[in-house]
Amino acid sequence: MPLVKAGQIVEDRYVRAVDDAPIPEGVPVIVPGARFLADAELVTRNAPIGVLWPNDKRVAELEPWLEDLSLIALVFPKFRDGRAYSQARLLRERYGYRCELRATGEVLRDQFQFLLRAGFDSFEVKKEADARAFAQAASRFSVFYQPSADGGVPALRCRLQAAPAARAHEAV
């Protein structure tokens, strides 16, 4: 499954910790959320630690460790299951998480731009062809109506900046 970061297919430097197997030393690892919560000492290890967080648990539970985590992977079990979009925005906008935020699971081409706007910056893409088409698919839309985690300026603010108070109409 190709990994895309900054628009490029890159090698994944993280190792997934499987089940109860010992966590490998000295390499970046991604640990399941429950295992991480059971053993928060993991943050003191000498290599980057990431967590795989399920989409049915509140991300607020991770707040105490956000400074220590170098990666949070959120899950799309099916691409129609959009809970992780809310989790991503909360992590970025409410809790100020700044490190890698990875989309995993059923990650397809037609979600790329939504994912970027929700604050994801790395993508485990299901299909090779989709990964190769990332740059194109991620720039389909050049205008947005709503503020989001990517900090883009929404249409309404652009309009107001272009013509401040130029329109006189009864409102409010």
């Binding site: 959009g82 809970r83 939504f114 839309f141 709503q146 249409a155 652009c158 329109r167 409010v172």
Partner: protein, 552 residues
Amino acid sequence: MYIYDAFDRTLVAERVAEFRDQVARRLSGELTEDEFKPLRLMNGVYLQLHAYMVRISIPYGTLSSEQLRMLAHVARRYDRGYGHFTTRQNIQFHWIKLAEMPDALADLAKVGMHGMQTSGNCVRNLTTDQWAGVAPDEIEDPRIYAEVIRQHVTLHPEFSFMPRKFKIAVGASAHDRAALRIHDLALRLHRNGAGELGFEVMVGGGLGRTPFLAKTIKPFLPKRDILSYTEAVLRTYNQFGRRDNIYKARIKILVHELGAEVFAREVDTEWQSIKDGALALDSAAFAEIAGRFRYPDYARLDDSPRSFAEARRADPAFDTWVANSAANHKTPGYSIVTLSLKPEGGTPGDATADQMDAIADLADRYSFGEIRVGHEQNLVLPHVAQRDLPELWRKLDGIGVATPNVNLISDIIACPGLDYCGLANARSIPIAQQIATRFRDRNLARDLGRLHINISGCINACGHHHVGHIGILGVEKNGEEFYQITLGGKADENATLGTLIGPAVPFAQVADVVEDIAAAYVELRERPDELFIDTVKRTGVEPFRERVYATR
């Protein structure tokens, strides 16, 4: 009319390009039907019994004559020469080829129209009062707020894959013409004790197999908070709405299972975190959106000019039509005219390409180029000078849209049913046609007065049968079509769900049953002007049940 600017046009054009690419990938086999389905659904494209259907969004039911002409063009060029106006103020074309869909959408994009979010598990087309901006009892034009929300939820990165669809309605009049309480989220503009404007927020309404009326979770929300509160509701639903069972995935089930108070607290906690952020709207923001609406430059006219009054006296047919189809406008000398798309024997809500073109021309000539679509599946010319009514009436009659049956027994709301829809268990359209034919006598229909019949071909309730004065629901029993009858439902400010009167009846008996119900009403009513719905409320359904099942 809301006038699109470069932002709006760019977004629609980019959406067409995206969909063209998706269709190409589907046709080449790169996308499976399962992967393509949610993509096409979010462009309003359904796979129905015989063909692909596309549903085109008509935000809050307002159309320009230019847009209506384009709909006529699409009907003629890509479909079979007609379109179907829906209970959600949209239009559907039932016979478009998938390969031609991108071209049809590109044509529509030229006039700012699209199928975005008319399907799929996202925020659907915003609806409101079809008399918005012209109703005498209105506080302010609700379309301004509907447009503010429409923009915010269009291609929203967080809320495009929710548990299920999400319908929002906005109202601003004492009398609810937007069926607010059957929506997932409804906002009613009103003044609080201090005279400030704000919204009553209602959530969790919806019909389908588990009907609920929306509950008020915030009696007064200041206008500045309309987007942040909407976002808090959507975020709560997106995270906690059920995804394990499609029939329990609507927000109404979440609100019901948590209880409205717990749900409201959850929303409020979320809202407190975002209410003073980027979504707080100041007066400049509202003025920006409001300033994009163009309003007619009305002439200074007197109400009921002499020529109009004389025409009413001279021609009883004209007088009947005016009494039925023309309503008071907030501007003196003008009327709001409803065009019935319910001719005897027709399909409720259908209009031909020729009718659409003719109505567009009449709108230019008599209604400042504007047309509305109502959830009752009729069209409206919202700004007609009363002095023009005699001439307009003759022209409307000439194209078959002046049947004086608005709000009467043959003004039936019906879903497409088993004639088109893959979900349906039974036909809806032939039932509507039989009832309309049975009550073709206009004096009889007028005597029965205001009486709304709603027909759904399956439990999904697209024909809103739960809120029909008489509701008819198609079900399947051993491979045959049967129909359950409910009485006493309504969708206005006193919204009520109808009560089932007894066992379902076969297809061939539905019109007879409706006739029995009408006859029972005539006997039961206390005065000639006691409306059907008021009689049912007073007597309950029991006397109707007895009448219907006495001989069955």
